[in-house]
């Protein structure tokens, strides 16, 4: 019973966190290169739609997943164009992206799906695979914990990969240099514009993956309310995680496990022992995150040149 409860909370945590991790890592990449990206929500929404739509027509979620990354990256290109080339305010451009992403998704959805604002469902076989499906006994401890969609494992792997890139490679050093002090980086011969473009487009690709991790793994279709705010939660997780991959992972897991706990505490048998209004229960993830933020996370500092347009002299 206890073991099962723990397994359930872990399983929910992993399921819930995958889209957040992808998207928040996108934020990490972009902001480490000095470009604030509040457009994650819009990129994620477009990714969710493109992933589900392409996945549906190709009858293969992986193709949809890759297309979602491409779509997110394409949208991010415009963010880079505005912020890096035309020195626009990053917040303003990000807000525009957040209007364009969902708007474009709905428009395309209406166009390709007979006027509907949601796509049609992928069959279970066409979805992202669950590598360990059927290995363990159904709904047993190991099945609950490890029988996850491939996107979950991919997201976790990506955290390690991004950490390696950012802190153990020349490219990572350059990205961080551009985010901390673009002028110094520039005088040392780093192509600041190119690094920024690369980082912003990568962040769009990751946010697109995040959206697809929702639309073709957690569920199997896009609907207009699917993303509703998860991009912003990812953004918060990135800030909470101090703009670092591992910290961001921890923040995503914390928030997701609180969601798992909420669902767990809402169970009928527990409600009889510990009655709590469902409205109050639903605030747990947010309260917990706030409490941890105040109590345990010290001062968080963004990259020094984050959000400041860089003009070459």
């Amino acid at each position: 019973m206890l073991l099962e409860s723990i397994a359930f909370i872990i399983a929910t945590t992993l399921m819930y966190s995958a889209p957040l991790i992808f998207t928040a890592l996108g934020g990490v990449v972009s902001e480490n290169a000095g470009v604030v990206n509040i457009g994650l929500e819009g990129m994620m929404t477009l990714g969710a739609f493109v992933g589900a739509a392409v996945g549906y027509f190709a009858n293969d979620a992986w193709i949809g997943f890759l297309a979602a990354g491409a779509a997110g990256g394409a949208l991010a290109f415009f963010h880079a164009l505005a912020c890096v080339t035309f020195l626009a305010d990053h917040i303003v451009s990000g807000i525009a992206i957040n209007f364009i992403g969902p708007g474009l998704s709905l428009f395309l959805s209406r166009y390709f799906f007979d006027g509907a604002t949601q796509t049609l469902s992928l069959s279970l076989d066409a979805k992202i695979p669950r590598p360990l499906n059927g290995v363990f006994e159904q709904n047993g401890f190991f099945d609950m914990v490890f029988n996850q969609y491939a996107t979950v494992y991919l997201a976790l792997f990506l955290v390690a990969f991004l950490w390696f890139i950012l802190y153990r490679t020349r490219l990572g050093l350059r990205i961080r240099a551009v985010g901390e002090h673009p002028k110094a980086a520039d005088t040392l011969g780093i192509n600041v514009l190119r690094i920024k473009y690369l980082a912003v487009i990568t962040s769009g690709v990751l946010a697109g993956f995040g959206g697809a991790a929702l639309s073709v793994a957690i569920v199997s279709r896009f609907s207009s309310t699917l993303v509703s705010g998860q991009g912003f939660i990812a953004l918060a997780a990135m800030i909470f995680g101090k703009w670092k991959p591992v910290g961001t992972l921890a923040a995503c897991l914390l928030f997701s496990s609180a969601q798992g706990l909420t669902v767990y505490l809402g169970r009928g048998d527990l409600q009889r022992m510990l009655p709590m209004p469902s409205q109050l229960l639903a605030t747990i993830p947010f309260l917990l995150t706030l409490a941890v933020l105040i109590g345990f996370v010290g001062k968080s500092r963004p990259p020094a040149a984050d959000g400041i347009p860089y003009e070459k002299e």
Binding site: G115, T117, N139, V219
Partner: protein, 331 residues
């Protein structure tokens, strides 16, 4: 130049003639932000209006609202176009419709999914007895469960959704078997991941059929049913197409029938404003989905029809709240 002017005058005349010449009744609806193809109540409303156009010869039209701020201007547009009856689709439009109806007392208005305590004479509110359809799916669930446990997932905890829950509970009780009901509210209408984890939790606790009244949250339920090979019960429209092998039935709201009926009343001169009509099984306002026969055996369907007839006859009064449920007796 002169020829152009004549042509222009002709076009203006033609447009005038076309717009005012028709003597048939015109009925138009304003969608909420979901748009006319939302696969939900807006679409259903438009289908009803199209049916009225075909069968009753009214002139049907719709305007889509892109955002909440569009409701007022859209109401104005239809007023200026000389529409006989203007429909607002969805409770979100309640304030705008009420304001328009008090400002233009000669114009007829109606709204889906809203009831006022005091309704102006030129306005009709239409609500649905969702509890009656929920009762029927509850009855089916209780008869079909193999584990003796069924689940209910609510969107947010407020009276409209309680109607679904207590109707469902009463239907389960009506089946006369010892069936346990797990119930949980997601406090969201959009969080599909949360819906999926609640559904997983219920399936793990042994439920094998789960009913939802939770909008987009239900996408998660249907996904969980697919993955675990269990049953889900849809809501508002026939959701079987989302998972043909796993959606057992759906508690449907027939907005189309309501729209059609009121169009008919208008044509027959029986229009009566100033009150709220509530559409239940008797009026064809709610029902179970046509695809129910795919998975539910014929004998059980016949039983359901019998129960339905008793509700329509008023022998069984379906509860819609905690209080009415407490005094509900299986008859």
């Amino acid at each position: 130049m002169k020829a152009l002017r004549v042509l222009f005058a002709l076009i203006v005349l033609l447009v005038f003639a076309l717009s005012s010449g028709a003597s048939q009744l015109s009925i138009a609806m304003i969608t909420d932000v979901g748009g006319v193809n939302d696969q939900s109540f807006n679409q259903s409303a438009w289908e009803g209006l199209q049916r009225a156009e075909k069968d009753l010869g009214v002139k049907a039209a719709y305007i889509e609202s892109r955002q909440d701020a569009d409701y007022g201007p859209n109401l104005e547009t239809l007023l200026d176009a000389g529409t006989d009856l203007i429909w607002g689709i969805g409770f979100k439009m309640a304030d705008a419709v009420l304001e328009a109806s008090t400002n233009n007392v000669d114009q007829k208005y109606a709204i889906i999914d809203f009831a006022w305590e005091k309704t102006p004479e030129n306005l009709i509110g239409v609500v649905f007895k969702a509890e009656e359809a929920s009762f029927l799916v509850g009855y089916i669930a209780a008869k079909m469960t193999k584990t003796g446990k069924v689940g209910f997932i609510g969107g947010m905890s407020f009276p409209v959704i309680w109607g679904f829950e207590y109707g469902f509970r009463a239907g389960v009780a009506q089946a006369g078997k010892n069936v346990e009901i797990l119930s949980q509210y997601a406090e969201s209408f959009t969080d599909a991941a949360k819906g999926k984890s609640i559904a997983n939790s219920m399936y793990q606790q042994g439920a094998d059929i789960i009913f939802h009244a939770s909008g987009g949250v239900g996408d998660g339920l249907i996904e969980a049913a697919k993955e675990q090979g269990k049953w889900a019960i849809g809501v508002d429209r026939d959701q079987n197409y989302l998972a043909p092998d796993n959606v057992l039935t759906s508690a449907m709201k027939r907005v189309d029938n309501a729209i059609f009926n009121i169009a008919k009343e208008l044509i027959e001169g029986k229009w009566q404003g100033g009150h709220t009509v509530s559409y239940g099984l008797a009026e064809g306002g709610v029902d179970i989905a046509p695809t129910t026969s795919k998975h539910v055996p014929a004998e059980l369907l016949a039983e359901v029809e019998a129960v339905k007839a008793r509700i329509i006859a008023g022998e069984v009064v379906v509860p819609f709240s905690k209080e009415t449920f407490a005094s509900f007796e299986v008859k």
